[in-house]
């Protein structure tokens, strides 16, 4: 068997916390994405409604989904990095009984 990462990885005490946060954020985004699909499918004419800066709902929602992915990604990274720094300090690793 030849599995396991190509680069040596240290123990990550934050991985469980990050996985839970990731799943929560995934469901938030999935809900917003589902709303987009539902409106497009059930009432596509609603997508023509003017919303902001002269743009209709289709453009606002579509570009919003792209920008939301970027913003949520940056927030996720910030929170994960903070948690990693907090839980993976040398002393906390020692306490964790690695």
């Amino acid at each position: 068997m030849d599995h396991g990462p190509a680069a040596k990885l240290g123990k990550d005490n934050a991985s469980e916390w990050k996985a839970k946060l990731g799943v929560k954020l995934f469901f938030v985004y999935w809900a917003v994405y589902s709303g987009f699909i539902i409106i497009n499918t059930v009432n596509p004419k609603l997508m023509g409604t003017r919303i902001i800066l002269g743009q209709n709902l289709a453009v606002t929602y579509g570009m919003g989904l792209i920008i939301l992915a970027i913003v949520m990604g940056l927030i996720y990274n910030k929170l994960c990095t903070r948690k990693e720094d907090e839980l993976n300090k040398p002393e906390s690793a020692a306490k964790g009984g690695e």
Binding site: A7, G54, A58, Y76, E84
Partner: protein
């Protein structure tokens, strides 16, 4: 239309290819170890990896396909951009770090990390090969599509050229050279697409898109009969009337005209046409291609700025650009096909479309007028496959093994989301810009973005053409690395248990890359003419159905067993491919008789749940396997 090779485009492309080949030979010494060849030694910086992700992901389908689709069908093309980008959220939040933690060279490693199962090794490798081939074919076809008009080479030579270059890149330095090719290509694509968009905004919108734009004629009609029309203008001679179209002749050239009404009176409007004669001659607007009578099209019939009708706008900001299009009217060309005395005729009739219809869904996807529940289900199915397919594409997943840590895997995914998201926003402007700039080739939507660039000077056109070529090179090299890993690492080393030395495994990887390259060249030639975006859709649907349920359940359901994973991959892949084979699109593509057995084109809505159900049932039935695994571990 008649294309002419641009010497500058050829020079830039040759320079780019020369540079990346030089880079490949330079990095070849780094690729002598297995880690170096398959995973670039796990030493790539997260920022470089993030842009390389963009270079890997933004394939010919994204740059050429989506821009072309928006140029021909408006907002519906942009739905692909949204779905392709949204898929990265799954990659970031759910897949990135576990993939990095569990795997070594291929995504099969990650799936099999806990089990050491022959079933998983075989099925995941097969799925990697099927998805990679489904993705490779359109890239190679795209290479041929680009090479023919821009370098003046035959389709087959274009495919061979790209295939050979990419195989050399991969076979010399594996993942390291592939990473830098993708990094350069991703960076160039985003920079020059931004420049193209700025040029579009600066130029603004105009009723006459450019000086050389063809002025479509209208002829008054004095009487319309069942099989004839009487013309008010005598310079044309009436020949025939069929399917609502009228065939006229002038200067010994026959052309097709559309019968319509203007101010309540019957008129004939000049229509672009293509005729394939019974003796296989191809005529454009009644003449051979070299006569250059097949005009580029796409213009606005009414421009409204702040409630006032104008002939041109001058420079516009991005939001104002979209608003003016929404308020105005655009002439699109509807394709009509019919047989005429043994000839196959295609006539494109001008169709004034409101900006409001263009800027919302419904022109391509049947979700509005003429929609039924099947067509709506088909649309949902497509959006599901795009969302869940990205994070299950093997050539994307292997990029997680090229960075040093899980943190780097996460950061590189965020860089990828920013770069790819920004590019996808640009596709809306490039597509709409092409739609109204009089540059469209009605015969090939794929060329829209490249032809748009030509309007802003030969330099930008040449650079964009070179970028389009590099787009194919970057993605194909990633796919060949993925396929080579599946053969050498998953199948030969793990599944068959071939006793490789480090050097032997790299050699096997290189041979697998060369064989994959040859297969890709052959398939690229065989599938000439098949729609590029159509085939990429297969890859996403198969990846989402075969791979994602296995990845998600492995990560989040402790009862998942090896047999459950192996069978769910099989069921997901088999059901997705079967539905595609029996779909209406397939029936139309290959001119099969009768109606297709299944009413939908996109399999995701059936095949993804089927794979999940299979995994759950089989896992519940094989819980003893997991108990044994735990006993052995203890």
């Amino acid at each position: 239309m008649h294309y002419q090779a641009s010497p500058l485009a050829i020079i830039l492309f040759v320079a780019f290819v020369g540079f990346v080949l030089g880079l490949s030979f330079f990095y070849a010494r780094k690729a002598k170890s297995v880690d170096g060849y398959f995973a670039a030694g796990g030493s790539i910086h997260w920022y470089v990896n993030g842009i390389a992700f963009a270079g890997d992901y933004l394939s010919a389908a994204s740059f050429l396909g989506i821009c072309g689709m928006i140029a021909f069908a408006g907002y519906d093309g942009f739905l692909y951009s949204i779905g392709y980008l949204a898929g990265w959220v799954v990659a970031l939040f759910v897949v990135a770090e576990p993939m990095k933690r569990l795997g070594k060279y291929t995504f099969t490693d990650a799936l099999d990390a806990k089990f050491n199962s022959k079933g998983i090794q075989f099925m995941a490798a097969m799925s990697t090969l099927v998805v990679s081939l489904c993705y490779l074919i359109p890239q190679m076809v795209g290479a041929g599509v680009l090479v023919t008009p821009l370098l003046g080479l035959d389709h087959a030579w274009g495919v061979i050229m790209v295939g050979v270059i990419v195989t050399v890149i991969v076979a010399t330095a594996g993942m390291t050279s592939t990473t830098y090719v993708q990094f350069l290509k991703g960076g160039m694509l985003i920079i020059f697409s931004t420049i193209l968009c700025i040029s579009i905004f600066y130029k603004g919108l105009s009723l006459i898109p450019h000086e050389g734009y063809h002025k479509f004629e209208t002829i008054k009609v004095s009487a319309v009969g069942a099989n004839s029309v009487k013309l008010a203008n005598s310079s044309y001679k009436f020949l025939d009337k069929q399917n609502g179209f009228v065939k006229l002749q002038k200067d010994n050239i026959a052309s097709w005209w559309c019968l319509s009404k203007k101010d309540g009176k019957d008129v004939l409007e000049e229509c672009p046409s293509k005729t394939i004669t019974a003796d296989k001659k191809v005529l454009y607007n009644g003449a051979p291609k070299k006569d250059k009578r097949f005009y580029q099209v796409g213009h606005m019939s009414k421009i409204i700025v702040d409630g006032k009708e104008v002939a041109k706008t001058g420079p516009l900001g991005p939001f104002k650009f979209l608003k003016v299009i929404d308020d105005s009217e655009i002439v699109r060309f509807k394709e009509n096909k019919f047989a005429y005395n043994g000839d196959k005729v295609t006539v494109w009739s001008p169709n004034i479309t409101s900006g409001k219809s263009i800027m919302r869904p419904g022109l391509k996807f049947k979700v509005d007028n003429g929609a039924n529940w099947w067509s709506r289900l088909d649309f949902i199915s497509l959006m599901l496959a795009l969302f869940f397919g990205t994070s299950a594409l093997p050539h994307i997943l292997i990029r997680y093994y090229t960075v040093p840590s899980q943190r780097d895997a996460r950061k590189s995914t965020i860089v990828a989301i920013i770069a790819i998201g920004f590019f996808y926003i640009l596709t809306l402007f490039m597509g709409l810009g092409a739609m109204v700039s009089g540059v469209l080739d009605l015969n090939s939507s794929n060329m829209s973005a490249v032809l748009l660039a030509k309007q802003f000077g030969i330099l930008l056109f040449s650079i964009i053409s070179a970028v389009a070529f590099s787009t194919v090179l970057g993605t194909v090299s990633g796919l060949i690395v993925a396929a080579s890993g599946a053969v050498a690492h998953d199948l030969m080393d793990n599944f068959l248990g071939v006793d490789f030395t480090d050097k032997g495994k790299v050699r096997a990887g290189k041979i697998a890359a060369i064989v994959t390259g040859v297969i890709a060249i052959v398939l690229g030639i065989i599938f000439k003419g098949v729609n590029v975006a159509f085939l990429v859709g297969w890859a996403f649907a198969v990846a989402a159905s075969a791979n994602l349920p296995a990845i998600l359940m492995l990560l989040f359901w402790k009862k998942t067993t090896a047999k459950g994973i192996a069978l769910s991959i099989y069921v997901g892949m088999f059901s997705a491919l079967t539905i595609i084979m029996l779909s209406p699109k397939m029936w139309k593509q290959f001119d099969f008789a009768g109606t297709a057995p299944l009413p939908i084109d996109n399999p995701g809505i059936i095949s993804i749940p089927l794979a999940f159900i299979t995994l759950i049932i089989v896992s519940l039935l094989t819980q003893k396997d997991n108990a044994k695994l735990e006993e052995n571990a203890a």
